[in-house]
Symmetry: C2
Subunit: 340 residues, 2 copies
């Protein structure tokens, strides 16, 4: 991900649905960048419990409990609450209020054409039984982003239509009140577009696919995960030539091993034969143990005092509301529906 485009004038909004603790895929795909970006500009981190409810209405205990879990992951990984504002979405009433006004600016057919929504509907098998809250969530996202006057939103390439929808709402609102109240944003898309694959070799690491390694994983979990890791199914004997492409161990080494020369040498050796899976797995395991040990230790320490962590979220939410209240007030003033 390029951070060069982001300047101190930018405001970032990003976050996670609180449906499970974060894993190594989140660390590589977003957390690492947030940790860098919090030194560049203002950054709001949304614990999206309300959005998670849009398709977890029967499962709200999970959604609530993971607010703390995700917060622990953030803090343990290196998010600094003095630099990044972490807040709980359901405690910011300005967001649904903006959402309800923005709904008037987006037609039903426009929502139905949203490619991300189309894909998700297929993926989740909703067909015509899509909850309205799910269908309208691009508008809720427009509320989240514009409430903070965010200029930068880190997203995957598949989420670009959501950014376009937000900017459409921004432009339509500004045009309808003939004032520049809301601010357009731009997507910050990872440069290589790569996601960390699951330990089973599947393209995406995901808790629900059972192929993930959480940030709070124990030393034993890490050992087990690396042992189970997908390599080259045709590499049966150490002497055999092995394939590096699609071999999860090498994909991970490319990402986590800072000694790139050594990794290139291992790849060459593996390709020509004579290098066993055990050797490369041992190397990767050591790297992952080193990476995750301090995160796990901080996470355990933080988890021992949940009230302290909730206090951070409370303060973050208060700070977030200062901004959202100011935006909502400006929106309502521009619409002329301010009475007192």
């Amino acid at each position: 991900m390029s951070t060069q485009a982001v300047t101190s004038q930018d405001i970032i909004l990003t976050g996670d649905r609180t449906t499970g603790p974060l894993h190594l895929g989140h660390y590589v795909g977003s957390l690492q960048n947030r940790i860098k970006l919090q030194d560049v500009c203002r950054q709001y981190l949304l614990l999206a419990d309300a959005q998670a409810l849009t398709d977890n209405m029967g499962n709200y205990v999970k959604v609530r409990d993971n607010v703390l879990q995700v917060a622990l992951d953030y803090l343990a990984a290196g998010i600094d609450p003095a630099k990044s504002t972490i807040f709980i979405q359901s405690l910011v009433p300005e967001l649904p209020e903006l959402f309800s006004y923005y709904l008037n600016l987006v037609t039903v057919s426009r929502l139905e054409r949203n490619p991300t929504i189309k894909d998700e509907i297929k993926l989740r098998g909703f067909e015509r039984d899509i909850p309205s809250g799910f269908m309208t969530y691009p508008v809720a996202q427009a509320a989240d982003i514009s409430a903070f006057k965010a200029t930068v939103v880190p997203v995957g390439a598949d989420q670009i239509p959501m950014i376009e929808q937000t900017n459409e709402v921004v432009r339509k609102f500004n045009a309808s009140v003939n004032q520049d109240i809301l601010v357009e944003c731009r997507a910050l898309v990872p440069e290589n577009g790569a996601r960390l694959p699951g330990i089973d070799g599947k393209a995406k690491m995901s808790k629900s696919l059972g192929n993930s390694l959480t940030l709070g994983a124990s030393a034993e979990d890490i050992t087990k995960a690396v042992k189970m890791m997908y390599t080259d199914p045709n590499h049966l004997r150490v002497a055999d030539p092995g394939q590096v492409e699609g071999n999860v161990v090498f994909t991970y080494l490319d990402i986590f091993d800072t000694d790139t020369a050594a990794v290139e040498e291992l790849k060459a050796h593996y390709r020509r034969g004579g290098l066993g899976d055990m050797v490369i797995k041992r190397r990767l395991e050591e790297i992952l143990q080193t990476l995750l040990a301090p995160i796990r230790a901080r996470r355990e320490q933080l988890a021992a005092d949940p009230e302290h962590v909730m206090g951070i979220l409370r303060a973050g939410t208060d700070k977030a509301r200062e901004q959202t209240a100011a935006t909502l007030d400006a929106v309502k003033r521009a619409m002329g529906i301010v009475y007192f």
Copy 2:
């Protein structure tokens, strides 16, 4: 409208979209009953500015300005703020918050099947360009009603699907949290189902049709309106037999003239011929002047001190929010998304 079914245990929610001052049709169709019902049970009167915006996004000045106008109509007609709680919808943030949660309980196809929405889409010529806020407004209404734990909602027969939608949301929510948090409501439908026709004989009196007589109409406006009133187009000479059915003057006399025997006599005379339009119009005009003169006087008096009226709305809104905040808190507690 039967008020017998309403008891002191009931809670009524009703109100008006703030798109124009109220007229005689509102007086007959709803205001008179509210004035009676405010002595029977708790009654909340919603000045629906936010809902009016769902299809007036480019016209928000009208929506805002009519908040005061409708409030003046309420108070002038006899709504007593000590008995009825008058409040401004856009100042109750709990309503969009409940709305955003309820959206998860209603599918898109369910909204598309709503007969009232279907009719309105035809009427307004929206086709597929329906604003999402319009499509989802049955859910917003469910939020309005259930936020007050209203048990009675006065509606026209065509609005019954909206009540059914509200009760579906109530049942679905209660089932999803396995607690009886929200309360079902029932429709209070006018007994005769009759609407006051426009002065032009069209079925519905409506400001946009230009066939209405506002509650604040001047004496001259009333004279002019009665003069223009549709009678029997074939009743050309006084001596001719005239038709009473569809004759707006008689329809109005049936509603506003308390001397029913005299009205029956006039009808018989008109039917056999020899009774001119001038005579029946003069009688109706006198009745309407007598009815509207004190309302107009009170309205002018109140309009001279808009700050006093806005103070009533402010107090009403504060009182309304006590109830909506309690309901939202119960809803969030039941969903388990309460953190502090």
